[in-house]
């Protein structure tokens, strides 16, 4: 998609073209037909299960039987369970790290890779690798690096005088390790989003700013940040969704432990369903989580549209 024009380009072009054509029944029918496969698929494999899961959340059954109707008991149980609130707290921490940590790293790298320099394109591909490499593989390499007292990083920490650092056995260190792992596998997404946004900025703007005597920090503050704000917000929303719904990253690295310290809501939901066999409860947790997430996204989208930035 390197031919993608700048956002501003497309924003101005699209509505004008749309207005030029008169609505016509045949065209509408064709478009409806073209949308149909996706609509059917999403209704059967996404929407129907969501509705079913909603019903399930109001029942107390097991994996294959719906059980009896219990009203909002599952939601009440979740909201009064300290582990739910702990997991909610960890989900927030984990997602904030995922969103802002990876944004900072990804944006910095996007800026680093912006000008031409020898080897630029190779670095661009290499730096995307952590995102392409399967999480199963990444988590294994982190396990090898950190899991036991004789692994590389604990030994290194020992030698450097930090003492016995238990990366995955100590609750606080486990939380930090999981968050760092998340940043490492997520920054390439941010790097791609921000690189695309940076390419949309007219080079003349920097030129003009430089002539006016703006230093690089001022250029960043008054040109780059505002001009990429829209992409930034969208990247945040998407990354928040990816982080909150991220099961494999946490589950593969720590399984939610030690002593539940890295249990996020999605891990808790998974455990409720497949280890405690309480699907109603697990699904209720997921719904609470998704509800919060969608609310947040809608607020942010409103913000983007109202501000109509860049």
């Amino acid at each position: 998609m390197q031919a993608t024009g700048t956002l501003a380009d497309r924003q101005s072009r699209r509505p004008a073209e749309a207005r030029r054509r008169r609505p016509d029944l045949g065209r509408a029918m064709t478009l409806a037909g073209l949308a149909m496969p996706a609509i059917v698929l999403m209704t059967v494999v996404n929407a129907y299960p969501v509705v079913y899961a909603g019903i399930q959340a109001l029942h107390d059954g097991d994996l294959l039987n719906l059980g009896s109707f219990v009203g909002l008991a599952n939601f009440r149980d979740a909201l009064t369970d300290p582990l739910f609130w702990w997991s909610a707290r960890f989900t927030v921490i984990f997602s904030l790290c995922g969103v802002f940590g990876s944004w900072l790293v990804g944006f910095a790298l996007a800026l680093l890779l912006k000008p031409e320099f020898p080897g630029k394109s190779s670095f661009k591909i290499l730096l995307l690798l952590p995102w392409i490499v399967p999480i199963v593989v990444s988590s294994m390499s982190w396990n090898w690096l950190t899991a036991t007292p004789t692994s590389l990083l604990p030994v290194l920490a020992q030698d450097l005088g930090f003492g016995r650092v238990m990366f995955l056995a100590d609750p606080t260190m486990a939380m930090i390790t999981v968050c760092l792992f998340k940043i490492r596998i997520s920054y390439p997404f941010m790097m791609m989003m921000m690189s695309a946004a940076l390419e949309g900025i007219e080079p003349n703007l920097y030129e003009a700013a430089r002539v006016d005597g703006a230093n690089s920090r001022q250029q960043l503050r008054y040109i780059v940040l505002p001009m990429t704000a829209r992409s930034t917000y969208i990247a945040w929303i998407l990354m928040a969704m990816f982080s909150v719904n991220d099961f494999a990253t946490i589950y593969l690295l720590t399984g939610g432990g030690p002593v539940d310290s890295t249990t996020s809501l999605i891990v808790l939901a998974y455990r409720s369903v497949f280890q405690d066999f309480r699907p109603g409860y697990g699904v209720a947790i997921s719904f609470l989580m998704t509800g919060a997430l969608v609310t947040l996204s809608i607020i942010l989208f409103r913000q983007i549209r109202r501000a109509n930035i860049a």
Partner: protein, 282 residues
């Protein structure tokens, strides 16, 4: 770009002009740190498995895993599932993305919102109802069943990616075709789709990565050893061989090779930046 006005040669990170070797060095250091864990995987995989007199890197461990594990079977399963999911995703997402790009009005807004809301739900929500549905039609423990779920979980972003690419193709091209008597559908296939190879590839890569890298769906739906895909096979193998890291890492290399090779050749077609406009544009 080329400025004759010689102000201070302020070569900072925002400077759109050419930077020098200093930047190469900085990028190399950052890359080395960030890729450390991947380098570890290769290093362990290329070490001799047994204590022999081999000192340099060796492919011996790879010989061991191909002879002693089911990795070829897992590889075949993963390849089949991912190929199927990729092809179906593109076939479904291309026309849907066209509608998002060209359609206007209430129905399209509702459609767009539907995609957004559906994609917000975590897979855990879908899993049990799908398990029950699939059990009824014999799709549990089936590679086809898993592929269907992969298509469903990639479809939202795939639609946005296609739509973002179609936005870059001028509507005037289609209008010319319509005037020449081409139908809307014909315009979509002959004009838009034919000029959308980068968009199609981009979407295909996304769908492939999602299917190839998935862990949760395979964990829940694939039950028997001969249906395992690489992540699940690798995981069971890893648990049985806690201390024997060489073979585990050799399997890991086999698993990360296809996406990396595909990306190395096709990365110039891949851009996720465009989905932003498509998402917030309406």
């Amino acid at each position: 770009m080329t400025t004759p006005i010689a102000t201070a040669p302020a070569r900072n990170s925002l400077d759109p002009r050419r930077a020098g070797f200093g930047r190469t060095l900085a990028a190399a250091i950052v890359t080395l740190v960030l890729l450390g864990p991947i380098i570890v995987v290769f290093w362990l995989a290329l070490r001799p498995r047994l204590y022999t007199d081999i000192t340099g890197p060796t492919l011996e461990t790879f010989g061991y895993i191909f002879a002693n594990t089911d990795i070829l079977l897992w590889l075949k399963n993963s390849a089949m599932v991912s190929a199927l999911a990729t092809i179906v995703s593109v076939i479904v997402a291309a026309p849907a993305g066209y509608v998002l790009s060209r359609g206007r009005g209430g129905a399209v807004s509702v459609y767009s919102l539907f995609i957004f809301v559906v994609q917000s739900f975590p897979v855990v929500v879908f899993v049990i109802p799908l398990f029950i549905m699939f059990a009824a039609v014999g799709l549990v423990d089936s590679l086809g069943g898993v592929a269907i779920i992969y298509v469903a979980s990639s479809i939202a972003v795939a639609c946005w990616m296609m739509s973002a690419y179609f936005d870059t193709i001028p509507v005037t091209l289609e209008e010319a075709a319509w005037i020449d008597g081409c139908s809307v559908f014909g315009g979509f296939v002959r004009i838009v789709l034919r000029n959308s190879l980068p968009g199609v590839l981009s979407t295909a890569i996304y769908a492939f990565l999602l299917a190839w890298n998935d862990y949760l769906v395979a964990l829940v739906f694939l039950r028997s050893d001969d249906r395992f895909t690489l992540p699940i096979g690798l995981q069971t193998f890893f648990q049985q061989n806690q201390t024997d890291w060489g073979p585990v890492m050799a399997c890991a290399v086999v698993m990360l090779a296809p996406p990396v090779v595909i990306f190395a050749f096709l990365n110039r077609f891949f851009s996720i930046g465009g989905i932003g406009g498509s998402l917030a544009g309406r």
